[in-house]
């Protein structure tokens, strides 16, 4: 664990090995843990780190790599502000600070024996990819596994070379759609929620994992409910302003929960009333 229990605010240095451009504003970074971390960087799917650009600041970023491959730490980052801009444009061999892993994780253990449906939109696929890797690595433990992924346009799709590989698995249903496209696009054009009615899973025995912009999650939860997936079996990932990630700064409060320690992954029935409240 890369957080010192005695000083959780001190980052450790991680060297950037590789930067891959996913879309015009989203990049995937591969980082090497410091030599002192003999076993690499362990985390559970759904957790996040606070990534530090020396002298500039920190941002909470979900971990996007394979939990069974802790030797490399992978983060998919969208450039939306000062800090993330710098994270996305590091020079060769740059060192970034990392504190973590923090937060709750996707229920990959609890889902054993059930079907699993993953619904994500935009950058929401990034925190779910570790769960998908885990499900694929332990495929025999689960029933049907479905990935439904929506993005704004075909250019905004993440992991463009991996998506076809996942689709090629005989034991995975992968449906991708975009909100709009030019006529050269041969795939689906429609919002991601329209993929839910036709997805092949048994609502009575399914665990749903949802991540994306809050509005997209809201619409998705309605469709899942319409198909009969109970709220106790639906999990979402929430996002709020974060400064410390350890429950002290108070910024990430969401009703009575702290997103940094009670979340970011929540079982939906537990937060349903707060989720429905405006400006909370």
């Amino acid at each position: 664990m890369m957080v010192s229990l005695s000083d959780p605010m001190a980052p450790s240095p991680f060297r950037v090995q590789r930067v891959r451009k996913e879309t015009y504003d989203t990049f995937t970074l591969e980082l090497d843990p410091p030599h002192s971390a003999a076993n690499g960087f362990s985390f559970a799917p759904g957790q996040f780190n606070m990534v530090y650009v020396p002298g500039v600041g920190e941002a909470p970023i979900s971990i996007s790599g394979d939990p069974d491959k802790p030797q490399t730490l992978i983060h998919t980052v969208r450039s939306v502000g000062t800090v993330t801009q710098k994270i996305c444009a590091p020079g060769p061999g740059t060192v970034l600070g990392v504190r973590g892993p923090f937060g709750s994780s996707w229920p990959v253990e609890e889902a054993v024996g059930s079907d699993v449906v993953i619904v994500c939109g935009g950058i929401g696929l990034a925190p779910l990819r570790p769960a998908l890797y885990y499900l694929m690595a332990h495929r025999e433990k689960y029933g049907r596994v479905v990935l439904l992924y929506g993005a704004r346009t075909p250019e905004d799709l993440l992991y463009k070379d991996e998506l076809p590989k996942w689709r090629g698995h005989f034991d995975l249903q992968v449906e991708v759609t975009v909100d709009s496209a030019s006529s050269g696009w041969r795939g689906n054009v429609d919002v991601v929620t329209t993929l839910i009615p036709g997805a092949r899973f048994d609502p009575e025995s399914t665990v749903a994992m949802v991540c994306g912009p809050e509005v997209m999650m809201r619409f998705t939860l309605i469709e899942l409910e319409r198909r009969g997936v109970p709220a106790e079996n639906t999990f979402i990932s929430m996002e709020r302003n974060m400064k410390c990630a350890v429950g002290f700064c108070g910024h990430c409060q969401f009703g009575p929960t702290f997103i940094c320690k009670d979340g970011p992954v929540f079982r939906f029935d537990k937060i349903q009333p707060i989720f429905a409240t405006r400006e909370i």
């Binding site: 879309t23 935009g122 704004r152 909100d179 496209a181 030019s182 006529s183 054009v189």
Partner: protein, 159 residues
């Protein structure tokens, strides 16, 4: 294809779910099998809308063309989807182009005929309206989500 098969296919289609026998026969009378080749245009914006389609197999792209954007796909439809409702609502003109993306097999229903019959038999009209309203409602909700442009980013980003 024999009329009995059409009746079976229509009866099994989700759009006609719960439709009572005498009306189902009516639809069968107004129905025919059609095929489109990949790339073929099914209807164009502005044309009179007198037919609607139940897609049996294949995908259809609804498109619009704008000078600064070229041709944009606003929705793709696939197996089991209902293509078109402008035939039921005045002024009965298509608002988009529909183009088959793959080879498409569909059932075409004579909208003009059904409009006429619905004026005479309001019960029939109600059954049709009920089902079309559902299709429209789903499209409306999906379109609203599309409009919200929740994924952000792009040149239209607020930042």
């Amino acid at each position: 294809m024999a009329a009995e098969s059409l009746e079976r296919i229509l009866g099994e289609h989700p759009f006609f779910g719960g439709m009572q026998e005498p009306y189902l026969q009516l639809f069968v009378d107004c129905a025919s099998n059609v095929r489109f080749g990949a790339g073929e245009v099914i209807f164009r914006v502005g044309e009179e809308a007198n037919t609607f389609y139940l897609i049996r197999h294949g995908r259809v792209a609804l498109e619009t063309s704008a000078p600064e954007r070229g041709s944009a796909v606003i929705q793709t439809l696939g197996d089991g989807d209902v293509l078109g409702w402008s035939w039921l609502v005045a002024p009965f003109r298509w608002r988009f182009d529909a183009r088959a993306m793959d080879p498409v097999r569909a059932i075409a229903l004579d909208g003009r005929c059904l409009r006429g019959r619905s004026e005479e038999d309001h019960d029939l009209g109600y059954e049709l309206m009920k089902r079309c309203a559902q299709v429209m409602e789903q499209r409306l909700q999906a379109t609203r989500l599309q409009l919200l442009d929740v994924y952000g980013g792009g040149v239209r980003s607020k930042r």
